[in-house]
């Protein structure tokens, strides 16, 4: 099978553009072309600029950033089944968010994110340290280790949160939901967009790192530095997304795996696809969540959980022969 030609990228981008436009017009309040230019233009414009547009931008930015984070982690750990929620990264970030709420509730959102990033980095580092000690007989052991580590960290978080009456907030970070996104409450996600840009600039180095330490060293690349850069990008991105809209599960797992099947793993070619498809999948899930029980909403964390687990099972069974 040959990789998909690059020319298909603009077509995919156009399709996702259409989804984004659709996302602007789905909701309880009447925002339609007729409303914008006819009946009550002020109110419709207000809703569009303060709620719908930020929500749509947040969906695109968070979707692209989480999918790319998954890709980066998979390259660095050299395992197809890791992503921020199967490597202890997301759980550690949530732990950090909770500790800030407890100890420094007045801290501005950027500070919260910084603390969550540091916790995410430490948690992912711990995950890698455990992996070095565990004999790996199957590639599936790697995500299992990550899920167990995440479970332990979540238990710690919930123990403290339960005693301090913070369970509500913790649930909010654990389940992605874009319904509360308003102008002024999503801008942190531009930071993850910038980090995704950095990942693209270093794409060749990440691809080489994905071939293992020996090949990277042979090609004159400092494997430790690339590893450190990648982990910082993944940790900060995950923390920014959790602080803004909560965790979106499975995204970082499914999108890079599907793109790898059709486009291969040369990151310079595949990263734009991963970013686009991540944005597209999140947009589609969020629109679906807004439509199924209209005028109520199903949060995107739940939607992704349902769609994502089914897709993940499919990938798992399909790849069974040569997992990893």
């Amino acid at each position: 099978m040959k990789p998909l030609p690059i020319a298909t990228l603009p077509i995919a981008a156009f399709g996702i553009g259409l989804l984004a436009v659709w996302s602007l017009f789905v909701g309880v309040s009447d925002v339609s072309l007729a409303a914008l230019f006819g009946g009550a233009p002020d109110q419709a414009t207000q809703v569009l600029l303060v709620s719908r547009l930020p929500r749509t931008l947040a969906l695109i930015l968070a979707g692209a950033a989480m999918a790319v984070s998954g890709l980066l982690l998979q390259m660095l750990v050299r395992n197809r089944f890791v992503e921020p929620s199967t490597a202890g990264t997301a759980e550690s970030a949530i732990f950090g968010m909770m500790m800030v709420s407890l100890l420094a509730p007045e801290m501005p959102v950027f500070g919260r994110m910084a603390v969550a990033s540091l916790c995410a980095l430490a948690g992912t580092g711990l995950f890698l340290a455990i992996l070095r000690q565990v004999p790996l007989r199957s590639p599936l052991v790697v995500p299992l280790v990550g899920i167990m580590l995440g479970g332990v960290i979540t238990a710690m978080t919930e123990f403290v949160a339960y005693r301090q009456d913070l369970i509500q907030s913790v649930r909010g970070w654990e389940t992605g939901d874009f319904s509360a996104i308003l102008l002024g409450r999503y801008e942190l996600l531009w930071l993850s967009a910038a980090l995704t840009g950095v990942a693209y600039l270093a794409a060749d180095r990440f691809t080489v790192a994905g071939m293992g330490r020996d090949v990277a060293t042979n090609l004159g690349i400092d494997h430790r530095k690339v590893m450190a850069l990648g982990l910082v990008i993944v940790s900060m991105t995950t923390a920014a997304v959790i602080a803004t809209c909560g965790m979106i599960p499975f995204l970082g797992l499914i999108v890079p795996n599907v793109v790898s099947l059709v486009r291969g793993d040369n990151m310079r070619g595949s990263l734009p696809w991963v970013a686009l498809m991540g944005a597209g999948l999140v947009l589609a899930c969020d629109i679906a969540g807004r439509l199924v029980i209209h005028p109520y909403e199903v949060p995107i964390g739940t939607m992704m959980g349902v769609i994502g687990s089914a897709l993940f099972l499919y990938l798992l069974l399909r790849r069974n022969g040569h997992a990893g």
């Binding site: 099978m1 060749d204 691809t207 293992g212 330490r213 060293t217 042979n218 004159g220 690349i221």
Partner: protein, 252 residues
């Protein structure tokens, strides 16, 4: 010149390489032979800075491998280890193109493209250029890795068991290619080989190791003898001469 001075490598008290000193002049094909566990692969990894040594120094043209920046060494020396577990879905052409990374840092020039085309052609990979690595056979994949290393176009090329997974036809073609690379382009090629007859027919120099030490070294006519083979491997062999080449028979 590769200058190895009293290299020792210990793993938790077990000595794998034991005070090896070796001086390999530039140019030609050099084969490292010896029984399993003799320390050949470990020595090759230390020389190519993939593995730190317990003590000793390695210099490549006067550059200490432990202190010289990796990107400088990558333009002078390349290494391919024996089991390359690459899970990435890269096409053969992409993989070979990464051999140019030390020179181009990802921005391929026409010169780089020429190297990539040549490497694909020399290794008979042109029909497979657009295929993903995980869709190839073991031998095809091995040829793709060697193409990447040759594409790196370094003065010194170190290969750990490059004939792994290759059938007779491709093994012979590979050894001829190494010979030609050394003769026409003046490269220094250091190989770890298990087949002593390939070593005998294609090397300028053979280094024999046993128990972490270099026990014999010299041109094939000095090394491929019943006495040396008995000393290195502990087997009885007959050595036949055939058209100026020495072939050891040790199958009975």
């Amino acid at each position: 010149m590769i200058d190895v001075k009293t290299i020792t490598k210990r793993y938790n008290g077990t000595v794998v390489v034991d005070g090896v000193s070796l001086s390999l002049p530039a140019g030609g094909v050099i084969s490292l032979i010896g029984p399993n566990g003799a320390g050949k692969s470990t020595l090759l990894s230390i020389v190519s800075r993939l593995l730190p040594m317990t003590s000793g120094t390695v210099e490549i043209d006067g550059l200490d491998v432990t202190t010289t920046p990796g990107e400088v060494l990558a333009r002078r020396l390349s290494i391919l280890r024996q089991d390359n577990q690459i899970m990435s879905r890269l096409t053969v052409e992409d993989l070979v193109a990464f051999g140019r990374y030390p020179h181009s840092k990802g921005r391929l020039t026409d010169d780089d493209r020429g190297h990539i085309r040549n490497a694909l052609r020399y290794l008979d990979l042109e029909p497979l250029a657009g295929r993903f690595l995980d869709e190839l056979s073991g031998g095809q994949r091995q040829r793709a890795f060697i193409a990447m290393v040759l594409c790196q176009d370094t003065e010194y090329i170190l290969l750990d068991e490059p004939l792994n997974n290759l059938d007779v036809k491709h093994a012979v073609a590979m050894m001829k290619l190494f010979r030609r690379t050394a003769d026409e382009f003046g490269k220094t090629i250091v190989l770890v080989l298990h087949d002593i007859n390939f070593a005998s027919c294609y090397s300028d120099r053979i280094v024999a190791m046993r128990d972490g030490r270099v026990v014999h070294q010299g041109p094939p006519e000095v090394i491929i003898t019943p006495d040396v083979i008995r000393d290195v491997y502990g087997v009885e062999a007959q050595v036949m001469e055939n058209g100026g080449q020495r072939i050891a028979l040790y199958y009975q």
